[in-house]
């Protein structure tokens, strides 16, 4: 049976099954080749956990939130970050905290938080650690992921293109659904083939979320001031959105703007924390993007 001779609806069924098989193959191959148990060091740094969960910018934001909570950093009503006092720099021990406080000795807009080179470099130290621990993929592994993604995309796009060619040669022009299906299949395949974390990283994050569920449930009872490091761990494991806005009002002002309403994850006007979307509104804006 030649699948390209199938009728339109029949081919769509075939293509959806074929796409599912490709994605499944990627997932299974990952399960077979990546181990989930790695030797873990002491996980006492919440910013490292934040990096594992969501990367560089998130580690910086969580560190800034912790500094704001401890009143070592200040956020003015006009959205400017400033180190509370020069002596504050000597009170912190983690490089990322040190770099943030050093950067904002001279007050600057909150939107510069994740783009300042010194701070970014400090956060990148976590990437190196996490790669060495096997929780984030190293360069060869990432290269392998991209090869798998490329092969999968070639298969999916190639199959769709052949069918489109056959359809057009037979005078059929109803190829819209196939194009939509091909786009969806390729996005899924790329997503499955290029994970940000290793399986061990995924497992660790999932386990940490489980261990810290109790903390999340009593988030409203967390006392400001950083005495128990609870804010940092809560935000590190679950994100700044887990912080109760009433107790920690600054969290909304430093967290990334919600991009879901924009229809694109790379929209520059929404992806940044510029005042047009962010400001003090807590991410409720962005209504104009993509519309």
């Amino acid at each position: 049976m030649n699948p390209f001779d199938l009728s339109g609806p029949e081919f769509l069924v075939f293509y959806s099954l074929f796409s599912a098989a490709v994605v499944l193959l990627i997932v299974i191959s990952r399960r077979l080749t990546e181990k989930t148990d790695v030797a873990l060091p002491r996980l006492s740094d919440p910013y490292q956990i934040a990096y594992l969960r969501a990367g560089n910018d998130e580690a910086i934001r969580v560190a800034a939130a912790s500094l704001l909570d401890r009143k070592l950093l200040e956020l003015t009503l006009t959205g400017r970050l400033a180190t509370a006092a020069a002596a504050a720099i000597d009170q912190v021990r983690r490089p990322i905290e040190h770099s943030i406080l050093s950067r904002y000795k001279i007050a600057d807009d909150v939107s510069t938080l994740t783009t300042a080179p010194g701070i970014e470099a400090a956060a990148l130290g976590y990437k190196k650690e996490l790669i060495e621990l096997g929780l984030l993929p190293d360069e060869p592994t990432e290269h392998g992921h991209h090869v798998v993604a490329a092969v999968a995309i070639m298969l999916l796009v190639g199959t769709a293109l052949i069918k489109i060619g056959v359809a057009l040669s037979r005078g059929r022009t109803n190829i819209f659904f196939l194009i939509v299906m091909a786009v969806v299949a390729n996005v899924l395949a790329y997503w499955a083939a290029t994970p940000r974390r290793t399986r061990a990283g995924d497992a660790l994050l999932s386990n940490l979320k489980e261990l810290f569920t109790g903390l999340k449930m009593r988030a409203h009872a967390i006392v400001p001031g950083g005495a128990n490091n609870e804010l940092a761990f809560l935000a590190g494991v679950f994100g700044l959105s887990a912080l109760p806005a009433g107790t920690f009002p600054f969290a909304n002002r430093i967290k990334p703007v919600q991009q879901s309403s924009c229809g694109s994850s790379s929209s520059s006007s929404c992806g940044s924390s510029s005042s047009s979307c962010g400001g003090g509104g807590g991410g409720g804006g962005c209504g104009g993007c993509g519309s």
């Binding site: 006492s44 386990n207 940490l208 109790g214 903390l215 490091n229 761990f233 809560l234």
Partner: protein
């Protein structure tokens, strides 16, 4: 001696435990919370074990009873011990059910030969089903169990001798019982076989009732009283083996630094007791 100091694991204390691992040697996890745990919850517990050694503490087995231990619960404990691989596991010298009725809390059984026999039988059975070292913990009680024909100390020592298991000595329970029933807690500890003391619980409680009815309740909601640290010193004098000292706290959580402060006091008390043992060549039972 290589004594260890830790805290009971409560999800509410997770941030404190994780950020102060360098000041903790061990965490104690309530086993019953994980008897019907999902794979995800067990994996999380195993992640915790990669951070700090774990000991498991059971509540519902009710081993100090003339009635047979619940085999289903023992199987669950065995499964959990297999999955988590704790340094040891412990249960209470208490009963929790009788005649098919669950009491819902730890109750002191009559201190008589039938409960000694029952405890011996149940402890043997538990060790054989679970296949790992078991420690038994003395409990606090607000009433002197009716039907008793021997003292708490005699009863505990008989069970330890008959079952050849070690003791998890809960110092606040000893303190509470000594206050409620008028005996010398330090003397009680000195008469417990020192070679059988393997672990220690410290905790706090509160007074309830009025005047003659006044009783000290072991509620784990308050700071460890000075009297318990004094008893810890005595226990460290008497214990011949390395101790695992666990601070129990079940609610009204203070700043984690306060809990660490209590653990520091425990370290100091144990060190002092150990020194006394060396200097005075203390002889306990």
């Amino acid at each position: 001696m290589n004594d260890r100091f830790g805290i009971s694991w409560r999800p509410e204390l997770a941030a404190g435990v994780f950020s102060n691992q360098h000041r903790l040697d061990v965490v104690e996890v309530i086993a019953d919370d994980y008897f019907d745990a999902s794979r995800k919850e067990i994996d999380a517990l195993r992640t915790l074990r990669t951070q700090l050694p774990i000991v498991l503490h059971g509540i519902k087995l009710g081993l100090a009873s003339a009635a047979e231990a619940d085999r289903t619960l023992l199987d669950k404990m065995a499964r959990l011990v297999d999955l988590v691989e704790p340094d040891f596991w412990s249960e209470h010298l208490a009963f929790v059910r009788g005649g098919g009725i669950e009491i819902g809390h730890l109750a002191a059984p009559p201190r008589c030969s039938s409960t000694v026999d029952g405890a011996r039988r149940n402890i043997r059975s538990a060790e054989s089903v679970v296949g790992a070292k078991l420690l038994m913990e003395n409990i606090a009680t607000l009433i002197d169990p009716p039907g008793s024909d021997r003292s708490e100390l005699e009863w505990i020592c008989e069970i330890l001798a008959a079952s050849r298991c070690d003791l998890l000595l809960d110092l606040h329970n000893v303190h509470a019982n000594s206050q409620n029933f008028g005996f010398d807690a330090a003397d009680f500890i000195r008469r417990v076989p020192g070679k059988s003391i393997a672990a220690i619980h410290i905790a706090g409680g509160r007074w309830i009732g009025r005047a003659a009815q006044k009783r000290l309740l072991d509620d784990h909601l308050h700071d460890v009283p000075d009297a318990v640290f004094d008893l810890l010193e005595v226990a460290a004098e008497c214990a011949t083996r390395p101790l695992t000292v666990i601070l129990e706290r079940d609610g009204h959580y203070p700043p984690f630094d306060d809990l660490l402060g209590e653990l520091e006091r425990a370290r100091t008390a144990v060190a002092k007791g150990r020194r006394m043992r060396e200097v005075l060549n203390v002889t306990c039972v």
